[in-house]
């Protein structure tokens, strides 16, 4: 996979112990997602974006930790909260912003919008606006990889709300029966739209996978190093033919369910939000670690920030300037 700035990923094969350069690349990628999403919020606030968007801010360590353990031709599927996954798998901010604005230059020629970024070039099978809607697709991609005899792995991202959809269990059952190379990554940010997971989720989340014989791991979703390490192991396992896995990542979304969800106190406290934004922010946690371990100094990190900021700014400008598709395009692409 490529990083957000387009450099090819030098890893020929997943490494279990990444070096400092790798951690720094992950830092850059996480920050890129953060800054991308801040621009999205801006676009919404300035009424430049049609519709709504669901920001990934706060959850960056999951997408980045996982996708850094994948190859370019490995597959992912994503969700309504999907910008982070798509960027981490190598999408270009230019075409992402253009997609969000409904421009022809965007992924999907303006037809998909925020919730449907898809890109064969980076193995992105598509974000999905149906909760758990892509579980079948990811499992099918893993089936296909095994059938075709490749070592491609499929990663299926979803929120803990998807645990409510029965199809998830149907897929995990088949994945385990047939030992398919698929990793179900559950991003547990504790909330569906406006309801806490304790009101919607009985029993134990990870047990919902192990009940089907699916190997499960739980990880701190704010710790990109931990996410990456465990994913790398699960990817190896899947490539070896040992079958599917379920990775429960505990995380948090800093913003509302979507950009318009501003008054949130009826479902979660400001105090809780503050705690996660300060003590548990994945980017801060990584930058502190990088500095503490002398993998980077503050100046380096500031430079990365400045570079990305200007990159995102330019990407937004590209998207704003890009033309809309002409109306006659509406009836194209229905059938292949």
């Amino acid at each position: 996979m490529s990083t957000v700035t387009g450099q090819p990923n030098p890893k020929a094969k997943t490494k279990l112990s990444p070096d400092a350069a790798t951690w720094l690349r992950m830092y850059r990628q996480m920050l890129a997602i953060r800054l991308f999403e801040e621009q999205v919020n801006e676009l919404y606030t300035r009424a430049l974006m049609p519709g709504l968007a669901h920001l990934y801010v706060g959850e960056e360590a999951v997408a980045v930790g996982v996708c850094e353990a994948l190859q370019n031709d490995d597959y992912i599927t994503s969700t309504h909260r999907g910008h982070g996954h798509c960027l981490a798998k190598g999408a270009s901010p230019n075409r992402m912003f253009a997609a969000l604005l409904g421009k022809e230059a965007g992924y999907c020629k303006g037809k998909g919008g925020s919730m449907h970024i898809a890109d064969p070039a980076t193995g992105n099978l598509g974000a999905n606006a149906i909760v758990a809607g892509s579980v079948g697709i990811a499992t099918g991609a893993a089936f296909s990889s095994k059938y075709r005899g490749t070592t491609q792995v499929a990663v299926c991202f979803f929120g803990e709300g998807a645990l409510g959809q029965g199809v998830l269990y149907e897929e995990m059952n088949m994945a385990q029966l047939w030992k398919l190379p698929v990793i179900y990554v559950c991003e547990n940010n504790s909330y569906t739209e406006y309801t806490h997971c304790s009101e919607t989720t009985a029993g134990d989340m990870a047990a919902r996978a192990t009940a089907f014989g699916v190997h499960a791991e739980t990880v701190d979703g704010q710790d990109v190093r931990a996410v990456h390490d465990v994913t790398a192991k699960l990817v190896e396992r899947a490539r070896r033919g040992d079958g599917p896995a379920f990775l429960l990542c505990n995380t948090y979304r800093h913003h509302g369910h979507h950009v318009g969800d501003i008054s949130r106190e009826y479902y979660r406290s400001k105090q809780e939000e503050r705690l996660w934004a300060t003590e548990r922010d994945p980017i801060k946690l990584l930058s502190n670690w990088l500095v503490a371990n002398k993998h980077a100094d503050a100046a380096t990190l500031d430079k990365v920030h400045a570079e990305l900021k200007s990159e995102m700014q330019k990407a937004v400008e590209f998207a704003i300037a890009a033309p809309y598709p002409s109306a006659d395009k509406a009836s194209e692409d229905v059938y292949a």
Binding site: P50, G51, L52, G102, K103, E104, C108, K109, G110, K111, G112, G113, S114, M115, H116, N128, A129, I130, V131, A132, G133, G161, A162, L163, G164, Q165, G166, T192, E193, Y194, T195, E199, T200, T201, Y266, Y267, Y324, P325, S326, A327, K329, A330, S331, V334
Partner: protein
């Protein structure tokens, strides 16, 4: 419509009033769905209900559309009157087994012994820049299933009166609300009233052409009727209000009078609601028609996200006007 004590309220308020009144009247009525309680749904249609009725009767569910719809079927069979909330009409895909194979058939398969008095409230309509999985109008599917009734209110007044009737009905009823209409205001009497299912409403009288329009398309048809008036064409606008039962007589009688008809519905045009209604009119008013019955629905494409693309997929006042004008041989 009684015109004493009539207030202007929004479509969302009308729905909420209907629910609150029926919940006060009948302790068996309860609401089940995602984010229906404290959040009052993303559209805020249910705001305040949990405060009055508590979480026993306004129940937040997991994201399990099949699961809680099925649960509602069983609750309805055993003495309750569930009102199920399916946030976006696109998600009825997940409930088709519970609705078509269970809810719709229980009464018949049991030889009339078990009943399923439940309501599913859901949405239809595009134009919110929500793309293909959050913009569909899939009421044709349910209209095709014997055992279900299907309601498509187009005004706050109709929404309130029809929803109250739907809740009191002994059968499974699916109630489609246009997402774009929630903030639309209209006159609604303060006193209680209900509207029977299966009675079309003449939204505007006219002589030259009948515009049969449902839900979101009623305002479009009324707008087109206004434009037509400017060129001397008098359009009658009829809202069937329920696709099943369908008030065939009112539709056919109108076309017998006007001799021309356009059927307008926001579902996909192909194999959609417009086909049935057009076929009914073409047969019932066969000897009176001066021109073929025209149909206008959503373009036969998944709804695109990009505004200039989405906008061309839907009938508009102008496109209805153009078709009507051509049909009436005006230039």
């Amino acid at each position: 419509m009684p015109d004493t004590n009539t207030r202007e309220i929004t479509f969302a308020e009308a729905v909420r009033e209907a629910l609150a009144e029926e919940m006060r009247r009948d302790a068996r009525v309860f609401i089940l769905g995602e984010d229906v309680a404290e959040a009052g749904t993303p559209f805020k249609v249910l705001s305040g209900l949990v405060e009055e009725f508590g979480t026993k009767r306004v129940v937040d569910t997991p994201i399990s559309e099949a699961g809680f719809t099925g649960l509602a079927v069983g609750a309805a069979m055993t003495g309750l009157r569930p009102v199920v909330d399916i946030m976006f009409g696109d998600f009825i895909t997940l409930t088709m087994d519970q609705m078509a194979n269970q809810a719709a058939k229980v009464h018949y398969m049991s030889g009339g012994k078990w009943r399923v008095p439940m309501v599913m409230r859901t949405t239809l309509g595009a134009a919110r820049r929500s793309a293909a999985q959050h913009s569909q109008s899939l009421h044709a599917w349910f209209s095709h299933v014997p055992g279900l009734k299907v309601v498509l209110p187009s005004t706050p007044y109709d929404a309130k009166g029809l929803l109250k009737t739907a809740i009191r009905d002994e059968n499974p009823v699916v109630f489609f609300e246009d997402k774009m209409m929630f903030k639309m205001k209209g006159p609604v009497p303060a006193e209680e009233y209900t509207i029977p299912l299966g009675v079309a409403d003449v939204k505007r009288e006219g002589d030259d052409i009948t515009l049969v329009a449902t839900s979101s398309m009623v305002q479009v048809a009324l707008g087109a009727a206004g434009l037509l008036e400017e060129i001397g064409v008098s359009a009658e606008v009829i809202d069937p209000r329920t696709t099943w039962p369908l008030d065939e007589k009112t539709l056919v009688d109108s076309v017998k009078k006007t001799s021309r008809a356009i059927v307008i519905d926001e579902g996909y045009g192909r194999y959609g609601v417009t086909a049935e209604i057009a076929a009914v009119i073409a047969e019932g008013a066969f000897h009176y028609l001066d021109a073929p019955v025209k149909r206008m629905g959503a373009m036969h494409v998944p709804i695109p996200f990009s505004p200039p693309l989405e906008d061309v997929t839907l009938p508009t006042e102008r496109s209805v006007f153009d078709v009507a004008r051509a049909l009436c041989n005006r230039s």
